[in-house]
């Protein structure tokens, strides 16, 4: 085969995006004089069908064997043009792109400067493309199982979809029960259907599904491997309750010496639980857990004469000897559905949340209006003699959202509607109450949202436009210091209860999953999707997908939709059973390798090992790359003293010409 390079250079106008700033004709003329260049064309949209046709035609008719496309970022269209080459039988890795849009025409204003830079970038690409070698993508099998991290509504939905398609799912949940934030809600907007009524059946399905292995009260510790073949390590935390024996009867909790003395996480601290507890009555699995940080026996080694829970349990399920257990398994795909944290209003001290018991968050009020909540659904504040029913109630929106002063510039997307919902519920439950909502904008963008907002307003809830600045106490009343902006009237509104519509934030333990899966974060600190529009459930790591609020604030319908999207993306891999792996990986020249093993040490994936080979009659140690494990970072190639280990498509001899061109050309 004649391997003398015959290069085609294709300069894209990208409409006017490139052509307006870069003189494409001058660039083309320049390219035509470069070594080994046979064909140069410029065209309005190289990525369009006719554009790609030009390339295909030239490969076939002119015998091109190398292609340079000067257009947008390779991150945008490298795959597109690889396919173009492949379609006419040219190895797709004989392609090099020159980024003359994102890093040239869009960032420079001077036409001469941009044109000169485009020439350099094309020259560098042409210098490299001559030396590229054909690469072949290998296929590996996909382990027909999926890991779903987080069992809120997103994780539950994704797990059910994958399991229903016939694949094994490991559903890992950090807390003792599945259900997540949705299980804490009373009603859901805008339909006001009961949250538990629509969620609990799904929770039960998850527990009973033959394809789902539920690992509640467990944490992912480690994920190694690559798409199709992830090795997962999960820590099943000790519950100190034998779940096989526990019947969920609850006698242990009744007997516990700390009953009614520990703030219940599920009730946002408004209700109390025991040290042995089930987070809420509909918990799945319906098993008890001993809180190791609270239990007297576990913290002090002593609980009266003997722990009352153990004495009371007729099933003998209490086991203080229980240890954490490490579970290991293999999956082909991972779905991250770890959810959010509500914004902590203590970070806005001007609202007095830490000082006043009758300043609540939306989620706290949610527990208060819930029939399963600490007051059985009655809106009552205070305890005992001091208990009272608030009549004047103010809601404050955008607490911790759209607020640079706390570092959250984004809109949390759910607060407008949950505020409307809660205002409506409170008004229903407290006859004669005066409910007002202080807002800066109302965003009712979802299906049925605007209609619901209308309904709530017409029901008598006052919407007053102004974002409150301060809350303090005067006598028994809370004073909301705010301006009614539509009247230009500063007010000191005296109320009995203030509800802060707190926004959604990335979980405070978001870092754990980042470290385990190498995820990125967007500027808002939520997990970063591969593309904000076209790959909203994918991540930069193949085989790892996002669902729900881990990726950004969303309501339940959007969360479920994204969970189904993530499940379907995972299923594409699982059901095809094969996945192509990285071709641009490292390889070793065994004739020159000295076996120093520096590359072995540096490889983050353990993809390189020393093997003994026979070289000129001697047995010598040389490095060898495990192609399935290599991810193609090239750290080994930079570390090698003899240049024996190289990264395909990024070899020293391919990069040095780029450096030379960019260095010399002025």
């Amino acid at each position: 085969m004649n391997n003398k390079p015959k290069i085609g250079v294709y300069v894209c106008h990208c409409g006017v995006n490139i052509a307006k700033t870069v003189d494409v004709d001058a660039v083309s003329e320049f390219a035509s004089r470069l070594p080994n260049v046979k064909v140069v064309r410029n065209y309005a949209y190289m990525c369009s069908d006719p554009g790609q046709f030009l390339i295909r035609e030239d490969i076939e008719k002119e015998g091109l064997n190398r292609v340079v496309v000067a257009s947008c970022s390779p991150r945008m269209h490298e795959n597109t043009f690889r396919k173009t080459l492949n379609a006419v039988g040219l190895n797709p890795y004989y392609l090099e792109m020159a980024n003359i849009r994102e890093q040239c025409s869009w960032v420079h204003e001077d036409r001469d400067e941009a044109t000169a830079k485009a020439k350099k970038l094309i020259y560098a690409a042409a210098a490299k493309v001559r030396l590229l070698e054909p690469l072949y993508e290998k296929e590996v099998d996909v382990e027909p199982a999926s890991l779903v991290i987080g069992a809120g509504i997103a994780g539950i939905q994704a797990a059910l979809d994958i399991a229903n398609a016939g694949f094994k799912v490991y559903l890992v949940e950090k807390t003792p029960s599945v259900g997540g934030r949705m299980s804490q809600l009373d009603k859901t907007f805008p339909t006001l259907d009961c949250s538990a009524c629509i969620l609990t059946p799904k929770m039960v399905d998850v527990a009973n599904h033959p394809n789902i292995e539920l690992l509640a009260y467990s944490q992912v510790e480690e994920i190694a491997g690559y798409v199709g073949n992830f090795d997962v390590k999960v820590r099943k935390k000790a519950r100190f309750v034998d779940v096989d024996k526990c019947t969920g009867c609850g006698i242990c909790a009744q007997e516990c010496r700390l009953t009614g003395r520990i703030p219940s996480e599920f009730d946002m601290g408004m209700g109390k639980r025991a040290a042995v507890y089930m987070p809420f009555p509909q918990a799945v699995p319906a098993k008890y857990t001993i809180d190791p940080e609270r239990c007297l026996f576990l913290t002090r080694g002593k609980c009266g004469k003997s722990p009352k829970c153990a004495d009371a349990c007729t099933a003998g399920a209490i086991n203080f000897e229980q240890q954490d257990e490490i579970v290991e398994f293999k999956v082909g795909t991972v779905i991250v559905a770890t959810g959010f944290d509500p914004f902590d209003p203590a970070r806005k001290p001007e609202y007095g949340y830490s000082d006043y018991a009758n300043v609540l968050t939306g989620l706290e009020l949610e527990r208060l209006v819930s029939a399963s909540g600490p007051t059985g659904g009655a809106i009552v504040l205070g305890e005992g003699e001091n208990a009272f029913v608030p009549k004047d109630i103010a809601f404050i929106k955008c607490v911790g959202s759209r607020d640079k002063s706390v570092g959250n510039e984004y809109c949390s997307r759910v607060c407008c509607m949950y505020t409307a919902k809660l205002a409506h519920l409170v008004q229903e439950k407290v006859p004669g109450s005066n409910v007002r909502i202080y807002y800066m904008d109302v965003r009712a963008f979802g299906k049925g949202f605007e209609e619901f907002y209308d309904r709530v307003r017409r029901g008598g809830v006052r919407y007053i436009r102004g974002n409150p600045s301060e809350i303090f106490k005067r006598g028994d009343k809370l004073v909301v210091k705010v301006e009614d902006t539509l009247n230009a009237a500063p007010l000191e509104d005296e109320v009995d209860m203030v509800v802060l519509a707190v926004g959604l934030e990335p979980r405070n333990d978001a870092r754990e999953i980042i470290d385990i899966l190498r995820l990125s974060q967007s500027a808002d600190r939520f997990y970063l999707e591969a593309h904000p529009k076209l790959a909203p459930v994918d991540t930069a790591t193949d085989g790892v997908f996002l669902a729900g609020c881990a990726q950004g604030p969303k309501d339940i319908p959007d969360t479920v939709a994204q969970a189904k999207g993530a499940a379907s993306s995972a299923l594409v891999l699982l059901s095809s059973g094969k996945v192509k792996i990285q071709a641009q990986i490292s390889f070793v020249n065994e004739n020159t390798c000295r076996g120093c093993a520096y590359c072995v040490e540096i490889c983050p994936y353990g993809a390189i090992e020393l093997v003994a080979i026979s070289r000129m009659g001697n047995t010598v140690q040389v490095a060898r790359v495990n192609e399935a494990l290599c991810k193609g970072c090239g750290a080994c190639a930079a570390a090698c003293f003899s240049g024996s280990i190289q990264q395909k498509s990024f070899m020293d001899r391919q990069i040095l010409p780029q450096i030379a061109v960019l260095g010399v050309m002025r």
Binding site: N99, E109, C633, A660, R666
Partner: protein
């Protein structure tokens, strides 16, 4: 005609963070000087220190290596390797008399288009201060 010295800078950017950040600067239509040209590698860990020396030999007045923020490397630890290598190289370059402003490292994430613009501005400014670099230069393309 302006006689102001316009430096020539070669930059090595990792594909996942800095290159994506530079793309974002373009998508957001920020403007920065055209003196800097990018070579894309998959990871800053791929950048052999000799590439930097080579660039200076080939006529670059300044070199930039940019990767993901420490701890955020797409390949887990490539940027740590880069950081160690280039801390040493920087000292070596200084030792042999290369002005410190010619060699730069930065951490730019995929969401930091604005930071990329600042980094380019800074690197160009430093190279301008340092002036044309001739000490290592070979005068014809040599690969």
């Amino acid at each position: 005609m302006s006689t102001q010295f316009e430096p020539n800078i070669v930059a090595f950017l990792c594909n996942w963070c800095s290159y994506a950040g530079a793309d974002l600067a373009g998508t957001s239509r920020t403007h920065y000087p055209s003196n800097l040209n990018v070579i894309r590698v998959m990871c800053s860990g791929r950048v052999n220190p000799l590439f930097v020396v080579n660039a200076l030999q080939q006529g670059a007045d300044g070199v930039l290596v940019s990767g993901c923020h420490p701890g955020d490397c797409h390949y887990m630890e490539g940027n740590f390797h880069a950081r160690r290598r280039f801390t040493l190289l920087r000292e070596l370059l200084e030792y042999v008399g290369v002005e410190p402003g010619r060699f730069n490292m930065s951490w730019v994430s995929a969401s930091e288009g604005a930071k990329w613009k600042d980094v380019v501005g800074e690197v160009v400014e430093k190279a301008k201060e340092a002036g044309p670099f001739k000490r290592f230069r070979r005068d014809k393309i040599n690969w």
